[in-house]
């Protein structure tokens, strides 16, 4: 009873907290100063059509580095918690049809993921989205083919390589350009082309590889595979 009352009070408190937000809410008409600056800077200084990408990779680059670190820590945490887990799972080998179809589909999903993270500065998408798409390809592989063997050393190599290269590019920006993670270390190129916007596509591709390999290793660990 007391418990229910406490829950009710908490919910009413939350509603009361958010009520002013709804009643006072007014749609804004114009960008604020910071956002307008980011939009203009993204077009004029960084040659990046996708403004969200330039905010994530350049203006808030340090946040993204921290975010990748959090994802890495989560991977380590999952691995540590579920280490050496051996469940008595009933594994039924997949049919010919399922195995063949999924291996065709996995290749296409990988290509889509790579496309998404290399074109992160031009189209909607980027390293995180592309990495998740790649991990979903591995998930399909794990679910449809029980005999699949992951090469863990390659996966760990890709993960550590992309992390180290990401920090390396950041330090290179400190030395060669105006600051940490500044994309000016590579030529800016022509607006709207694949090889443009300085180091932004390189950084986003490294993030994509890192996110993809980390999420895949989370999936492999959760799948209970040794």
């Amino acid at each position: 009873m007391i418990r229910n009352m406490a829950v009710l009070l908490a919910v009413i408190g939350l509603v009361a907290m958010f009520l002013p937000m709804v009643t006072d809410f007014q749609e804004r008409e114009n960008l604020n100063e910071l956002a307008a600056d980011y939009v203009e800077g993204s077009i004029n200084d960084l040659n990046t059509p996708n403004v969200v990408t330039s905010v994530i990779v350049t203006y808030r680059g340090l946040d993204t580095l921290g975010e990748v670190t959090v994802l890495f820590l989560a991977t380590v945490g999952v691995g540590l918690l579920l280490k050496g887990r051996k469940e008595d799972m009933i594994r039924i080998s997949s049919s010919e049809l399922l195995g063949t179809t999924s291996s065709v589909l996995v290749a296409m999903i990988m290509i889509l993921g790579i496309y998404i993270f290399t074109h992160g500065h031009l189209t909607p998408g980027g390293g995180f989205q592309g990495g998740v798409v790649i991990a979903s390809g591995f998930l399909l592989m794990l679910l449809s083919n029980v005999n699949v063997k992951m090469n863990h050393s390659i996966m760990h190599f890709v993960e550590s390589f992309s992390g180290v290269a990401y920090v390396g590019i950041g330090v290179a920006g400190l030395v060669l350009a105006i600051g940490f993670l500044n994309p000016g270390i590579l030529p800016l190129g022509r607006f709207g082309e694949l090889f443009s916007a300085g180091a932004i596509p390189v950084i986003y591709s490294l993030i994509g590889l890192k996110v993809g390999s980390e999420l895949t290793s989370i999936l492999v660990t959760m799948g209970g595979e040794k």
Partner: protein
């Protein structure tokens, strides 16, 4: 107009998620509640960044580079939500691993069977 509806939707999801976290006894249902609340906050943040009648902050045929500032929505909330989605995913994965480990030790998913931290 549309962003006030999505704002209300986001707040509703947030409250539903918190209610689920407070009342459910099953650990996995609590994680589902967390996930719903997480989605609610993302919708709230994106709604706050919406500007009336404007489009996604990507320069292409629809948005020319010359007057882009007048035509796009706020890119910062979108970037923040992208970060928040990934962090939410990582936190959910860690929580679920904890639950797997707890189930392996005590063979129970009910929060009533875990009294160690109760006061």
């Amino acid at each position: 107009m549309i962003s006030s509806y999505t704002l209300i939707l986001g707040i509703a999801l947030l409250i539903i998620g918190f209610y689920a976290m407070l009342t459910r006894k099953n650990l996995i249902k609590m994680v589902i509640g967390f996930s719903i609340a997480d989605t609610g906050t993302h919708i709230i943040i994106v709604s706050l960044g919406y500007l009336r009648g404007k489009t996604a902050p990507i320069i292409d045929q629809a948005v020319s580079a010359v007057n882009a500032v007048q035509k796009v929505v706020d890119p910062i909330p979108s970037a923040l939500v992208l970060t928040a989605i990934v962090i939410g995913l990582a936190v959910t994965a860690v929580m679920l691993s904890f639950i797997v480990e707890m189930y392996r030790k005590n063979k129970s998913l009910s929060i009533d069977d875990y009294q160690e931290l109760k006061w």
